[in-house]
Amino acid sequence: MRVPFLAVLPWRSLLLAMVTLFGVAVVSFVLLRVVPGDPIAMMISPGASPEDIMRLRASYGLDRSIPVQFVIWLGHAVTGDFGTSISMRQDVMHLIAGRLPATTELTLLALVIALVLGIGTAVLSTLSRRKLVGAAIENGNGILLAVPDFVWALTFVVLFGVAWQILPISGRIDPRISTDFATNFVLFEGLLRLRPAVVGDVLAHMIMPAFALALPLAAVIMRVLKGALEAEGQQDYALLAKIRGRSKLRITLQETLRNALVPTLALTGVQFTFMFGGTVIVERIFSYPGIGNLAIDAVINRDLPLIQGLILVFGLIFILINLAVEASFAMLNPRLRHG
């Protein structure tokens, strides 16, 4: 069983990642051009002549065949040039790079919230001897599993934005607060530069979308972890620990939790990638300037280069998350650690 696991892992995974990304590029490129919806139709003024339309079409290269278009696009893409957004007249990579930090901060915050809530409730319900606590957690979990992120988002807006106006319902930061930051990671940089006003305002904007994204994930984490904790608790080593006089709290925190986290983490990784899908709707609801919101604008405007770039970025994020999950297995599981 002593396969040199990690020695092989990164190269194999990276190669697979490249192949996957290429597949995503081909499929999305073809699909985008086959499905109805003409970007030129969105741009022209009502009085444009057929010749004007033809000229415009040719200037974007859309009069060529799909394979030729793809080869041209790929030739530029490998150099990092993903073209110019049709609707916003800006470089696609520049647009995405400007929006990505907002989404990164939002999803990471949501992930932290989901992990804390999920692991916390799973451990609590494992430890609690009272039937009432267990039943309360179990039922709460059922509700969280059933309600999707956008319903939470709308509920939060109604509760904390309209009925009880304590949180801002749109945007990322109050425009009156000046930031002279080097990056667009406003939260991270605000923390590093110790700017409580900025951090506080950004968090106030993020808290509702982050919780909307986090609650469904927290429910999944809790459900899986609780099952894994119960299974580990029946293992001989946990029984032995009990006989050795360790309390249930210690057995759970020091013996079983670590082993139970391994399957939970695998699932969290997969579910975390789904959360990026969730950002598309949730960011829209809160007018949060991330790539999810950008994606909706791009689709509405049939902005082919921008959609194409966004699909690739989403694909890359999925792949990176999965690599990170694999790497963290080795941290938790000593059986994968030694080469």
Binding site: Q234, D236, Y237, K242, I243, R244, G245
Partner: protein, 294 residues
């Protein structure tokens, strides 16, 4: 005569949920200090249930429904939880069945071996390490210092079982429950491990409840034995006497079903159906009826 180390009397257990299938039916047995007492029977005979009941690790689905388990005169089944927790691990220890699952895969062997010494005796640092090395020497592990820093997946099954034996004896308990300690091991390793348990037990003067389905193992290590069938005691007494002339047909059948090297050619005999039918009839006379477990 002083009180025996362990005295189980009239112990009954059943499934917690209806139809409350009985698992133990009024089992009584005693284990003297320094005695190795075998619990023998087929799967489902209740031998492991007895071991788990003593250690208070019965699965949630099983409940005790009568009888007492007296350890040095004190009833474990009615003892306050705090007192029981103190006894378990220090005075009563377990050698588990499967060394593959009985060590936590994500903790080093050494820290698991010394849990008891650390938590119960407050040993630490160099003294703890010294004691750990001694323990591993006792179970004949070469290069103990290296082994302490390994993870369970890095050592063999026989070695894991020896570490678990060392851990069980580490606090010098008065009673050890050995739950099929050699079943999961290679035949070649089995003998060695049995001899080790026997030696350690003699040196420490420990009483042992030895759960097994293997009469060959019983003949090697047990002073006395209890034969169980369907949660009921079938026969009890000195090992040598019972193996030489079993008084119950079921015991006879079990002996015939055990492969023996000194009887080459005769082969193993299946347990005749008549005896089991007879036991079943006996069980229904106890009033357990058709819902019984057999």
């Amino acid at each position: 005569m002083s009180a025996p180390l362990l005295e189980i009397s009239g112990l009954s257990a059943r499934l917690r949920r209806p139809p409350h299938s009985p698992l133990l039916r009024s089992v009584s047995l005693t284990v003297a200090a320094g005695e190795v007492h075998g619990l023998v029977g087929e799967s489902g005979a209740g031998k492991s249930t007895i071991g788990k009941a003593i250690l208070d690790i019965l699965p949630d689905a099983i409940e005790l429904c009568g009888g007492t388990i007296r350890f040095a005169g004190e009833d474990l089944t009615t003892m306050p939880a705090a007192r029981l927790r103190k006894l378990l691990g220090t005075e009563i220890a377990l050698i588990p069945q499967d060394p593959m699952t009985a060590l936590n895969p994500s903790r080093q062997v050494g820290s698991q071996l010394t849990d008891g010494l650390r938590l119960r005796r407050g040993l630490k640092g160099a003294a703890l390490k010294q004691k750990a090395i001694e323990l591993l020497r006792d179970v004949q592990i070469a290069d103990p210092e290296r082994v302490l820093a390994l993870y369970p997946h890095e050592i063999s099954g026989g070695m894991r079982q020896r570490i678990l034996i060392a851990a069980a004896f580490s606090l010098d308990p008065k009673l050890i429950i050995a739950d099929e300690p050699t079943t999961a091991l290679d035949v070649t390793v089995q003998k060695e491990v049995l001899r080790m348990i026997r030696n350690m037990q003699k040196i420490h003067g420990t009483g042992v409840v030895f759960v097994t389905h293997d009469l060959g193992v019983v003949a090697q290590v047990c002073d006395r034995l209890t034969v169980l069938y369907g949660g009921m005691v079938v026969e009890q007494g000195e090992t040598a006497a019972i193996l030489a002339s079993p008084s119950h047909g079921y015991t006879r059948a079990l002996i015939d079903a055990t492969p023996r090297h000194d009887r080459a050619g005769t082969g193993m005999q299946p347990i005749p159906a008549g005896i089991v039918a007879d036991l079943k009839a006996q069980l229904s006379r106890y009033g357990f009826g058709p819902s019984g477990h057999v």
